[in-house]
């Protein structure tokens, strides 16, 4: 049996020629990261261990994004704790509010050129798996693992089995990466890839943009996967040539190809058959074709997050909102995922489109996605959201509901006032 892409990256980072599923290995890490919720407990562990300094100040990334701009005194204290640590240890990649390059961690980290193909990354945030879109191995961990990795620059892994996901053909109109990943989660369930890698391949990959690949890899965790990885192709190389021209031109990245016989199982998806998809409460696997649930009235729409707050998402939203109005009785919150995307939206006139349509526009933040702030739901309220989880109480009251969708369905729903598809606008 050969090795998957993931297994080859892990073997290289462990200094081994070969690894097998189930092997326990110690791997060196290219980047380790945390946010304002997970880093302060890691800093406590760091101090408790008696550690003096981080293994490499250029490889530890800290992003205040969950409860920022600080929603209350306690969250302000969390951010202060991380800010002070970053200053004391001269952390290169600490992204303060308002700085160029700041925003939601999984939007800005690839966008700022910090991830290259072949890298191994852990982050104390479950959506760290996003970076698999660049042909890197990336997975989420907790604060104790982050603390230990901040000191050692390495961590242990159990080598995962791989599921090959073959994407074929071309998606239909308005069908995005979000629909593809929701469709897959609906097929295999929220634990369908538990402890395993999802490895995307097939002729359909070429037609999927980097922003959409990032959306797909982002939600690999929602079916239990350890990581979700794409092959490195022209789309990847074009992306890193822009985000990190210096390391790209020096060839400081590595591409891996999976062996044909490496996989435990294979799933095929004909992209032309993937409908505009939503996930109804209260699991991401509770998927339906959006056209089949049009009787669902809504109170709020959120467009943004580490799943769908990238430039292509905000551009798509602006194109669809142009000349339209948010329906009476609906609040629509647009959250560009980074300061760069926000500025682009300002320069391109997208913010004016949102304003004309009756949307509220927020600074980059995870905010409402995890029920933090900037759009919490009351009892009985229902929200169509381009975020990643619709668990009980995720966005607010325990009796509120979140319906997950891609950007086109979210915009159409805001305009129509219930779950809707763009052809109805």
């Amino acid at each position: 049996m050969g090795m998957t892409m993931t297994q080859k990256i892990l073997a290289d980072h462990a200094g081994l020629k070969e690894v097998r599923a189930g092997d326990l290995i110690e791997a060196r890490l290219d980047k380790v990261l945390g946010n304002d919720v997970t880093t302060p407990p890691a800093i406590n562990v760091f101090k408790n261990m008696g550690a003096d300094d981080v293994f490499d100040k250029d490889r530890v990334i800290m992003v205040p994004d969950h409860f920022t701009p600080n929603k209350d005194i306690k969250s302000a204290e969390l951010c202060k704790c991380m800010r002070c640590f970053a200053k004391e240890h001269d952390i290169t990649n600490y992204f303060e509010l308002g700085q160029k390059g700041m925003g939601i961690e999984h939007v800005i980290i690839p966008d700022n050129g910090l991830i290259l193909p072949g890298d191994a990354i852990i982050g104390a945030d479950s959506h760290t798996c996003t970076y698999g879109a660049l042909g890197a191995f990336a997975t989420g961990v907790g604060s104790t693992d982050l603390a230990c990795a901040m000191v050692s620059g390495s961590t242990w892994f159990k080598v995962p089995d791989g599921i090959k996901v073959v994407l074929k053909g071309i998606p239909g109109p308005y069908v995005t990466g979000k629909d593809i990943i929701l469709h897959l989660i609906g097929m295999i369930g929220v634990d369908g890839a538990l402890y395993k890698s999802l490895e995307f391949t097939g002729d359909g990959v070429a037609s999927i943009s980097m922003d959409q690949r990032l959306t797909i890899s982002n939600m690999a965790i929602e079916c239990g996967a350890k990581n979700g990885i794409f092959p490195v192709d022209e789309v990847t190389l074009n992306y890193i040539s822009v985000t990190n021209p210096s390391r790209f031109s020096k060839g400081e990245y590595k591409t891996y190809e999976a062996d044909e016989d490496a996989y435990e199982s294979t799933i095929e998806i004909d992209l032309a058959e993937v409908p505009l998809t939503v996930a109804l409460p209260h699991l991401p696997s509770n998927t339906r074709a959006a056209k089949d649930v049009k009787d669902m009235k809504i109170d709020q729409v959120v467009i943004g997050s580490c799943t769908n707050g990238r430039e292509e998402d905000i551009k798509t939203a602006a194109e669809l909102f142009k000349g339209k109005k948010v329906a009476d009785g609906v609040r629509c919150i647009v959250i560009p995922g980074s300061q760069r995307v926000y500025r682009k939206a300002l320069d391109e006139g997208w913010l004016a489109v949102f304003d004309d349509a009756g949307c509220v526009i927020s600074t980059p933040t995870c905010g409402p996605c995890l029920g933090g702030h900037m759009g919490i739901l009351a009892e009985g309220e229902r929200c169509v959201s381009t975020t990643n989880r619709n668990f009980v109480g995720r966005m607010g009251h325990v009796k509120s509901e979140v319906i997950l969708s891609g950007v086109p369905v979210a915009v159409a729903s805001a305009v129509v006032g219930r779950v809707a598809t763009p052809d109805e606008m």
Partner: protein, 164 residues
């Protein structure tokens, strides 16, 4: 090492948002987290749980966010062991790192009822439902994982090791 307690039983896909909702993550103080543990899925859990009690659930326990606050909340609430059909991988890792005992055992997960009195032995992996008389076998943890849990988590374990 063995534990014994009354069972709190839950279903499949118990996620970290119901174990400890994000609105409470502005503090990582274990006592604060324990005071809100499970409140969105079982509002009376905190008032009913007593030290040593055992949580039993279905598949994919702890799915969702990477918040280590989730196993910390459960551990601090007094729960001595979580038995599930399967655990989400980040939760699995976090539980060991913070010293919360967990066991994967599909048979026990299916058969044990809410309110049963259960005892479990970490060395043999044997789980006994005292109320029904049934016994189950989980794969016991390797020695070093047992020591991490006994020490109270990875940090304490690492400290003990470096002092030895």
């Amino acid at each position: 090492m063995s534990v014994k307690g009354r069972v709190f039983k839950y279903g499949n896909d118990v996620d970290t948002d119901v174990i400890i909702p994000a609105r409470h993550l502005t503090s990582a103080d274990p006592k604060h987290l324990a005071a809100h543990c499970m409140e969105d899925i079982d509002a009376s859990f905190v008032s009913r749980v007593s030290a040593g009690d055992i949580m039993v659930a279905g598949s994919n326990f702890g799915c969702g966010s990477s918040r280590e606050h989730a196993p910390i909340a459960i551990k601090e609430s007094g729960i001595s062991l979580v038995i599930a059909e399967s655990f989400a991988r980040i939760f699995y890792r976090n539980a060991i790192n913070v010293g919360l005992a967990i066991m994967e055992c599909p048979e026990a997960s299916a058969a044990i009822n809410d309110g049963d009195e259960v005892e479990a032995d970490f060395d043999s992996g044997v789980i006994r439902d005292i109320t029904t008389g049934e016994t189950f076998e989980a794969k016991p943890f390797p020695e070093f994982i047992k020591r991490i849990i006994e020490a109270g988590g990875l940090v304490q374990y690492t400290k003990l090791k470096s002092e030895a």
